[in-house]
């Protein structure tokens, strides 16, 4: 099968690079390839510095932030590691050693928190409701005098549920505790303005919005106690050492610029149609929130069907999707997100995620629904489940 024939519906995992993004990156490979120098350096280096600053201003402004408050990293994983471990380094011996997070966080947050737990930090994992939204009472109760950070995502990577970050921010402000949110999957499609939201740290990434892989960023509110944990030079406000990847930064900025309200609205229409059509398949359950949901995310569970088999059959028909099935994962652990929203293992194994992007067309929705309906029917025919 040729690449152009594949209907790609895994845009939460990675996206096709937009040609316009590639164009914006090119000058920094061949012409302005110098390291970003200080204003007292040679002109090639100053040009590089200007390009980096320009990219920084663009992305920061999409968050309502000052450019000094935004640093580039190698991606969302590094950003969340820096946010959580950086605050722990700064406050662990001062304010306390307690961290609060949620049961549905993506691995960079969840595993950073667990890594700190192994080093003697205390961890509270707040549970979520059936749609994947954090229990606000439990969150309020979990914050203690020695709590140094609350890390709760803006949007879920699997089921697309948007958290009520406004209320979470208020609670944190009221309790005087730092708030980090992982916005890898929502930025910039779901607005987040740091002038309105009392948030201290925000993780963002380029790979989800048709930008290059390997570049992301962290918003750090001015005055936030945080220390770098990787040592080297003084780059990125002395928080992230290493030679700056200017082509990647420029590409990230261009990718942010290319995400429009109209495009997001178009994806939302396709999402709603996809949900509606998939739920016409018998014994199909929508995972995640019906309303507070990423504009490009659909996640459903088909009962009596195992996700890896479904995924392989769809692949053979030219559709790329993702599943929460244990068989698909590297560890054979079922999706912790589906289990956290009260789903049983069967629901996790039969869960399939479809995520839309810029290069999806209207026709893709009906085409994938048709293929899914056929494959699900075939697999149910050979399944011993659901026949009683």
């Amino acid at each position: 099968m040729m690449f152009e024939d594949v209907v790609y519906l895994d845009n939460a995992a990675a996206t096709r690079l937009d040609e316009r993004v590639l164009e914006s990156m090119k000058p920094y490979f061949f012409d302005m390839y110098a390291v970003a120098t200080s204003q007292f350096g040679y002109s090639l280096g100053i040009d590089a510095r200007d390009a980096l600053d320009e990219a920084r201003v663009q992305i920061a402004s999409a968050l309502g932030a000052d450019s000094e408050e935004f640093i580039f990293t190698s991606g969302g994983t590094e950003s969340s590691n820096l946010a959580i471990k950086g605050v722990a380094l700064a406050l662990g011996d001062k304010k306390g050693r307690h961290i609060v997070t949620s049961a549905v966080e993506d691995f960079p947050v969840l595993h950073s928190a667990r890594a700190l737990k192994r080093q003697g930090f205390d961890l509270t994992v707040v549970q979520v409701d059936e749609h994947g939204r954090v229990d606000m009472d439990q969150l309020r109760d979990s914050i203690r005098p020695d709590t140094i950070l609350v890390s709760i995502q803006a949007a879920n990577q699997e089921i697309g549920t948007l958290q009520d970050v406004a209320t979470i921010g208020e609670i944190c402000q009221e309790k005087g505790v730092l708030f980090h949110t992982d916005a890898t999957h929502s930025f910039p499609r779901v607005p987040l303005d740091v002038r309105e939201l009392p948030v201290h740290l925000v993780t963002v990434s380029a790979h989800t919005i048709h930008g290059p892989k390997g570049v992301g960023g962290l918003y750090v509110r001015e005055g936030t106690p945080i220390r770098k944990w990787m040592d080297g030079g003084f780059q990125e406000s002395d928080l992230r050492p290493g030679v700056e990847d200017i082509p990647a930064a420029a590409g990230f900025a261009r990718a942010v610029e290319l995400v429009t309200v109209d495009e997001t609205a178009r994806l939302r229409v396709m999402r709603d149609r996809l949900i509606e059509r998939l739920l016409e398949i018998p014994h199909t359950h929508l995972n995640g929130h019906p309303v507070h949901r990423l504009p490009h995310n659909v996640n459903v569970s088909f009962r009596f069907v195992e996700g890896e088999s479904l995924l392989l059959h769809l692949d053979m028909r030219g559709f790329a999707v993702s599943t929460g099935s244990a068989c698909f994962s590297r560890s054979l652990e079922a999706s912790h997100v589906i289990l956290a929203i009260g789903g049983d293992h069967e629901r996790a194994h039969g869960s399939v995620r479809f995520t839309l992007g810029r290069y999806n067309e209207e026709g893709h929705v009906d085409a994938v629904v048709k293929a899914v309906a056929e494959v699900v029917a075939e697999l149910r025919k050979i399944s011993p489940l659901g026949k009683e």
Binding site: E306, L312, L332, E333, I382, P384
Partner: protein, 211 residues
């Protein structure tokens, strides 16, 4: 294409042989559990004179590895006597498939176990079980090798989750090295009970989780 499965496996996955149920089956087995991702059923039609498998079919709620092994193992078993079919090993099935990814071993072993369990089911139903073996610590450990540790995809004995086994007066006591509130604790408990309780001389199965 960089799929983890070879072409023989994919062909059996795409077009599995001997799929479905047998309505008036002479024997049946159900193995596995959805917690681990797979559950399979095997149905047998047996010639009572020759003790030869006339027909065998399977159903699968499982991944490609499980479906492909179900397909090949039923191919291999068809027409064989119960004794011959019983001795078909997982290794033979995997070889006939041209190899399987190591992480998928358990899904495949499950399909082989399903065939054996269906044959045992036939023998029990038709009074062919010769001498009943008493349940000992060794027997329990052997049966526990069929209970999977979903975290690794390997069985609970091999991954050292089984800390202790005691057998006395029909009571089997098993200590599992896992916190009681672990994601898989209940599934592992259920699976252990499923494997040990049906034994003829077992009255109680006690499972204790320790961290």
């Amino acid at each position: 294409m960089p799929l983890p499965y070879n072409e023989i496996v994919m062909e059996h996955f795409r077009h599995p042989h001997n799929v479905g149920g047998i309505e008036d089956a002479d024997a049946k087995s159900v193995e596995g559990s959805p917690a681990c991702g797979d559950r399979g059923a095997v149905y047998l039609k047996v010639d009572p004179e020759a003790l030869r498998i006339e027909d065998v079919k399977f159903e699968s709620y499982g991944c490609a590895s499980n479906i492909a092994t179900g397909s090949i193992i039923t191919d291999l078993a068809k027409g064989k006597t119960l004794e011959e079919a019983k001795s078909i090993t997982w290794k033979q099935a995997a070889e006939a498939l041209g190899g399987l990814p190591p992480v998928k071993t358990h899904c495949s072993v499950l399909a082989v176990d399903g065939l054996r369990a269906a044959i045992e089911n036939y023998e029990e139903r038709h009074g062919l079980v010769k001498e009943r073996e008493p349940t000992t610590v060794e027997v329990v450990r052997k049966r526990l090798k069929r209970v999977m540790n979903p975290v690794t995809g390997l069985d609970v004995v091999r991954t050292n989750l089984v800390e202790d086994v005691e057998v006395s007066d029909g009571t089997v006591r098993i200590v599992v090295d896992l916190p009681v509130d672990h994601q898989f604790a209940n599934n592992i408990r259920e699976e252990i009970i499923e494997k040990i309780e049906p034994r003829w001389d077992v009255e109680r199965v006690e499972i204790e989780f320790v961290e």
